[in-house]
């Protein structure tokens, strides 16, 4: 690990001015489960690290408000997963959290940090391989390499690395937003607008400016919460990244679908909302065939490689199965 300056920020203002003021590559440190790991691999080499875990008042879990669930950026994944209101009224959120990582990591990892988790692409994590995300212009080793686990949606000829997070998939389905702050001021953006597709600049992963800090996450309260699920298909049943996943939420009027949300994970370069699949269901009677059709539409536009082509059908089936699980909860 390269040497770095370590600063503890005791306030949001101190954190953002430390980030913006140094003029050197700086990183925010919260749970450290991604950053420390990548620093040890020399994939991340910040000159300065700003520890925000001692900032008071950023770890709240507020489910009482009329409009939205509000989570502080430092709320721990394990705490939000176990929150009784989140479990009861928004199972898609709880499941996206407890089906991620291990309890040790969930005890450390913050919600804000989790949103910014970087890809698990083995070529990105290993500096002996060319990687456009790590070193722009060097090439993508995954295109012709071992790419069984790589993305089929949102890919480019520069990068096919999967966005590995689970929570963001659920948040995109629920139209969540984040409040961020920098020395220039505060703003709110939709989680759906947070992550970028790789395009020709896979090194640019989010819409955040380098000195912006996520303060909180807002999830609009909705009838869509209760009949929801996060279905995660993995190579082993626990403690693994998704081979395919689906965040699904339904609002039913008897057997008729009044509203529906579908987002897929593990298959795309960013959290992937499946609008066409949703539109195919709204106003229709829920049937197995309709769910299967929505599954296929969710994977519309997939661009595969020989090793990962099987995940188009797997993804479609995952969405269809998630819809059935959500239907049973309506």
């Amino acid at each position: 690990m390269n040497p770095f300056d370590y600063t503890v920020a005791h306030s949001v203002d101190a954190a953002v001015s430390a980030l913006g003021g140094s003029g050197r590559p700086s990183k925010i440190l919260a749970g450290g489960t991604t950053l420390v790991d990548l620093m040890r691999l020399n994939v991340e080499q910040p000159a300065a690290v700003v520890d925000i875990t001692r900032i008071p008042g950023l770890n709240h879990i507020d489910t009482e408000g009329r409009e939205a669930l509000v989570f502080g950026a430092l709320a721990r994944m394990s705490d939000v997963a176990d929150d009784p209101v989140v479990r009861r009224d928004y199972p898609v959120l709880s499941e996206s959290l407890w089906r991620a990582a291990s309890q040790q990591l969930r005890n450390m990892a913050s919600l804000g940090g989790n949103l910014l988790q970087r890809t698990r692409c083995a070529y990105f994590r290993d500096r002996q391989y060319p990687c456009n995300k790590r070193e722009p212009g060097t090439g993508c080793s995954a295109l012709e390499g071992l790419n069984r686990g790589h993305a089929v949606l949102g890919v480019s000829d520069q990068c096919i690395a999967v966005y590995p997070g689970d929570l963001a998939i659920a948040l995109v389905a629920l139209n969540a937003s984040i409040d961020v702050q920098s020395t220039a001021g505060a703003r709110t953006l939709r989680v759906a607008d947070l992550h970028r597709e790789p395009g020709q600049t896979p090194n640019l992963e989010t819409a955040l400016r380098p000195d912006e800090l996520i303060l909180r996450i807002r999830v609009p309260k909705s009838r869509l919460g209760k009949a929801s699920t996060y279905l995660k298909i993995r190579d082993r049943e626990s403690y693994a990244f998704a081979v395919a996943s689906a965040a699904v939420a339904l609002d039913m009027d008897g057997d008729v679908i009044r509203d529906v949300r579908i987002a897929v994970g593990g298959l795309a370069t960013r959290p992937w909302r499946a609008h066409a699949a949703e539109q195919s269901l709204v106003g229709k009677t829920f049937t197995e065939a309709a769910a299967a059709q929505a599954g296929r539409l969710s994977l519309q536009g997939a661009a595969t490689r020989p090793q990962n082509a099987f995940r188009v059908e797997l993804g479609a089936n995952t969405v269809a199965e998630a819809l059935k699980i959500a239907r049973e909860r309506a």
């Binding site: 040497p3 440190l29 450290g32 291990s102 309890q103 040790q104 626990s238």
Partner: protein, 192 residues
Amino acid sequence: MINEDHLGLNRREVVAAGTAAAVLPANTAAAPPAEGGVVLQINGVGHDLGDLDPRSTLLDVLRERIGLSGAKKGCDHGQCGACTVHIDGRRVVSCLTLARQAEGRAVTTIEGIASADGRLHPMQQAFLDHDALQCGYCTPGQIMSAIACVKEGHAYKVDDIREYMSGNLCRCGAYVGIVAAIEQVVAQGRAV
């Protein structure tokens, strides 16, 4: 030849003696360290680590500076759970915890869970009762994780135990015994 058992020291402690951290009386840890020294509170004892390199992980400090080698280094990437310890009562992987982040917090390791009179923690006893290990390398992490698993309320069903213990890998495959040990502790309703 030094008879290490006779001295009550193990080889690691003898080797590490030259670089060991200063041990402070237990209740000095809360006070701010003099001249910026980093003080960690481990198993109720304060350890002054001086001007600690920010890169130091809690795991490396425990093992190499303090001589507590119970927490094991398996993968060093947060994937195996062998380094599991508690911080303020919650299980974490110490290999991805920068030591400075643990300052002012209560760190508990496998060395800190038996009673003062040497009686094993109920979870330690349950692991023995159920042969919940073979080589033993993952065991300190398993036990620290298991204690937390019960405390969190994630150990009332076998499926939950399997799910919430999945962050601790055992290459010997002692999982059946591990689950049985945890069930025993829950069934006994013993304080953990």
